[in-house]
Symmetry: C2
Subunit: 382 residues, 2 copies
């Protein structure tokens, strides 16, 4: 799927401000940067060159050069750095400073340097990507709606489970003091079975699970091996799908079937309170790092250890990448158009994890949480 | 999900052969190279350092350092290139040549150089990745089985369609000479509706669609906009899922509902013949580029133009990446353990595309196609 090419104006401004002759990005065509700059995904490595206010793309001959609204898209089987240097030379820039992302592949940098260009790094694209336009915000919101339905599918399944014997170990279950497990649709419900159901729902909603769906049961299953779900333990269902134009969503909810009202309830109150902090600390002009530390401090205020229990990953920018600018641990200022993943989580070695993750848009009028996913622990109240 | 760390021996051999002191890779943790070297996916940028026959990883403080069977996994919030230089210095290598992939990020290369190391590029990891061990081949095969079920879902749906009026344009369909469209489950079947059904099946099979599922109808839908499927046109269903340990599959089949037996039948015979070429030209010792050109030549032999109709993308290595070594357009020799995507396709501006894509393992005893997907045009004979 396509959206439009973006970032040209920001690049032109950076090129002009630094007296450069152009900008080069070299990356795999599925990379978020190239997806942002070209508006679509390519199934190959790609050289993107911005020179004289126009965009030129060079692709290898193994793909069809696509029709795109840029100045030129041509096949060039030389290494992308060489192909990029040729474009610059063709368009009136036989030498001078060329801007590139700091992570430009080293071989491409060397090709440009040996062709007579001085390389200087720029964060212009990351900065542009961090501020979403209306179409980008809509794309994230659409993905987030699908994410809500995916997690909702898990809630519906969990709400219709019944307790049964653990059949997996062959020793007869309950009689031996084995805890009961949750059954659904006639069989024990494992983390993997639930994960697949969530992913099937995401697929039916037209988004890709992006390998980001996880189901965590209590203190078990961290090694990625499926385990059967049990009543009373916190079950974290976490998704991070990718929509048809590449924009990501992020949603995590924690459910407990037949809770005993202990640790997980207190942890949930803390996470829910932290989540609400994001709605008062995420105005344009607020400090992103302060928001991040407030999320942690609010969680800790309910009696959890900052060092051991409160998560360090409180989120950050989300868009074409699941993690992008702005980070919530730096000193940058939030601006209208930032889209943030905000995450509140508490982990305990004996109890497991409680987590709430949402996506928030920083608007001119303040922050707005996307989607309408309920936050409660009880899956039957989704 | 985890598999084991790989590539250490190949790196050690390259380090030793080139009198280097170590090897450094810096990448996003979801990158195929870092997934190969560490055996798992990381949700962050990652510095991988191999020095003195041992592996060390450095990750930022926003993630929990995972338990892995390597010499050290530690948090280091410096830029990954600096963190890598510190590891080298700590382990008895205060200077000297350091090997790195040629696409190491330029900033990491500069950090290593300013710490006193000479950088030299190596393709040792790509070369190691191109030869799959038994566990990797099994992983690709498991993904390919799921791919077969995903495409099989499309076949089952297409086989149960009925012809109906095109309701989409509001002008009443047939009466105006609009061609009929295929209906399924009470509504017109679009490329997007079919794609979602395939993806839901892939998800239920436990694999990720990886954004690689495409449904192409005749000459329409190239722009990514959904179109309603019609009888008589070739419908290409193409999947490239990612399994739980990251290994990809690739399968494409072409179906026609109510064929009129024209162009698409001849194109299908050509693609099927080309596909069979891969079973006689893919022994250990055969030339990979020759296999590629034979695939094209065999397709063209049925009367299709090499320049305009026969695809240039005939495939290449597949593994943790959908496209990796060996390429089928170079002059490298196939070896046992190579796993190849082989693709035969013919495209015509008036008729559309016919395509057959499979995955093949080059074994000691010769090539073997993975999976048992039927190849025919008739979806009811799947």
């Amino acid at each position: 799927m396509r959206s439009g090419p973006r970032g040209g104006d920001a690049i032109d401004a950076a090129v002009s401000a630094r007296d450069a002759v152009g900008f080069v990005a070299v990356s795999s065509g599925s990379d978020p940067t190239s997806r942002y700059l070209t508006g679509r995904e390519f199934d190959c490595d790609l050289a993107y060159v911005r020179v004289d206010g126009e965009t030129h793309l060079r692709v290898p001959s193994t793909v069809e050069p696509p029709a795109l609204s840029v100045a030129s898209v041509r096949v060039d089987d030389r290494p992308p750095g060489k192909a990029a240097a040729a474009v610059l030379a063709e368009h009136g820039a036989p030498g001078g400073t060329v801007l590139a992302p700091r992570t430009v592949p080293h071989d491409a940098a060397l090709h440009l340097e040996s062709a007579g260009y001085d390389l200087a790094s720029t964060a212009a694209v990351e900065a542009a990507r961090a501020v979403k336009d209306a179409a980008e915000r809509d794309a994230v919101e659409a993905t987030q709606r699908a994410a809500t339905r995916g997690v909702g599918r898990a809630a519906a399944i969990l709400a219709s489970t019944v307790e049964g014997a653990d059949e997996g170990d062959g020793d007869g279950g309950d009689g031996d003091g084995e805890p009961p497990v949750l059954h659904w649709d006639g069989a024990p419900l494992s983390t993997e079975r639930l994960r697949r159901q969530v992913n099937a729902r995401l697929a039916a909603e037209g988004v890709d699970s992006a390998g980001a769906t996880a189901v965590r049961a209590g203190t078990r299953g961290d090694a990625g091996e499926p385990v059967e779900l049990r009543p009373g333990e916190p079950i974290v269902v976490s998704v991070g799908p990718r929509g048809p134009t590449g924009y990501r969503g992020a949603l995590a909810r924690t459910f407990v079937v037949d809770p005993d009202g202990g640790w997980e309830r207190r942890a949930h109150v803390a996470c829910d309170a932290a989540r609400k902090v994001s709605l008062v600390e995420a105005d344009p002009g607020d400090d992103a790092g302060f928001l991040g530390s407030e999320l942690r401090a609010e969680t800790a205020a309910f009696g959890f250890s900052m060092a051991d229990e409160v998560t360090r990953d409180v989120g950050g920018g989300i868009g074409l990448a699941a993690r992008e600018d702005p980070p919530l641990d730096g000193d940058c200022e939030l601006v209208a158009g930032n889209v943030l993943r905000v995450r509140a989580a508490v982990t305990h070695p004996d109890h497991g994890r409680v987590e709430l993750t949402d996506v928030l848009v920083v608007g001119d009028d303040g922050p707005r949480l996307l989607g309408d996913a309920p936050t409660g622990l009880d899956p039957s109240r989704w």
